[in-house]
Symmetry: C5
Subunit: 96 residues, 5 copies
Amino acid sequence: MLLGKVVGTLVATRKDEKLQGFKFLVVKRLNIESEETGDYVIAADAVQAGIGDVVLYATGSSARQTVLTDKKPCDAVLMAIVDTWEVDGATKYQKE
Amino acid sequence: MLLGKVVGTLVATRKDEKLQGFKFLVVKRLNIESEETGDYVIAADAVQAGIGDVVLYATGSSARQTVLTDKKPCDAVLMAIVDTWEVDGATKYQKE
Amino acid sequence: MLLGKVVGTLVATRKDEKLQGFKFLVVKRLNIESEETGDYVIAADAVQAGIGDVVLYATGSSARQTVLTDKKPCDAVLMAIVDTWEVDGATKYQKE
Amino acid sequence: MLLGKVVGTLVATRKDEKLQGFKFLVVKRLNIESEETGDYVIAADAVQAGIGDVVLYATGSSARQTVLTDKKPCDAVLMAIVDTWEVDGATKYQKE
Amino acid sequence: MLLGKVVGTLVATRKDEKLQGFKFLVVKRLNIESEETGDYVIAADAVQAGIGDVVLYATGSSARQTVLTDKKPCDAVLMAIVDTWEVDGATKYQKE
């Protein structure tokens, strides 16, 4: 999984029939220092994340292993909202 | 999923038998500022997209989860036409 | 899918038993301007491509969705020979 | 598989229901000289690794082939703790 | 598939139970000029390769399509030992 920050929403009225009702979030990828990397992903949301949340996302076929995304043409899903992580004993992110 | 812009079509008469009737679109990848990145993908089209449309595309096994692409040797599919998205409260793209 | 140009063949006598009889092609990846990118893939061939052909190739599990590659340890397959494509109304490649 | 070093833990209270009880580790990717590459992955742990352990991790659908990760929305798993490896006859890493 | 050169072995005593008895090889990725690229993979070995062999390897779910790797948490497998390949009519590698 990779770290990301939810920075916005995406609206798509015309989409594959299996995706009706889907909400897509715009997610900036973070590095383990909690800094933006310049990369991004548009993901489905299995954890009711909100703007500003730091999240974990899974990609590929693993992104279809939630109830929401099962058998859907979706290759990225937010599957956890991060509380905190540390690297070499130092806290790199702490949810407020 | 990633963001792309449909910029053209590709014709391939000789192809795997499972792909008969397939229409391939040439898609330039966009970043979240709605700018071209220099990367591209050739994708199947599950949403009847047209030239100039901004789209979401899924890759890998997830690209085979539409009725069109089921069990086909196809690793990229357009699964949504984008209306709009925003980043940090600013609209980055708005369909005309 | 990505664009490639078949530039050679690869011979491998000792290979996994499921791959007996497989022919491998050396493929240079192209960008949408029809230029070589420096990247490559060694692919199985589901469309009887020849040296010099411009092709589409699929990777990952999608590469196993042809009769030739079904259930084989193969992660790249040529699934179409390209006739032509265009970008923003300009033809970028035309088969001779 | 790729080489990594476990450098920390990640806590996520709100996560997909299938991931209840999961422990996530922060892993820095190593090159074959045993040096950090700047890349990382957040992975599930099938081998009870600890901080400082050098590990092998698998990604994609292969990451779901352990008892722990079966059918879970998880795309990276630690599946071995490395004792040693060598390159061109020279030992590049030796567990203490 | 990609080209690689087997440069060493990796020992991991503690590993996922499904991997008992597995032998891991350290493989440097090659480009089509037969030069090292700086990239690598740690792979299972379905073809009894030895140090110095030039090989083809498959990744992702395709790496689980050998008898050895079926249903194992393994995302890279050597599936062929290369005898020779050519590019634009010139031999780039010839097994001795």
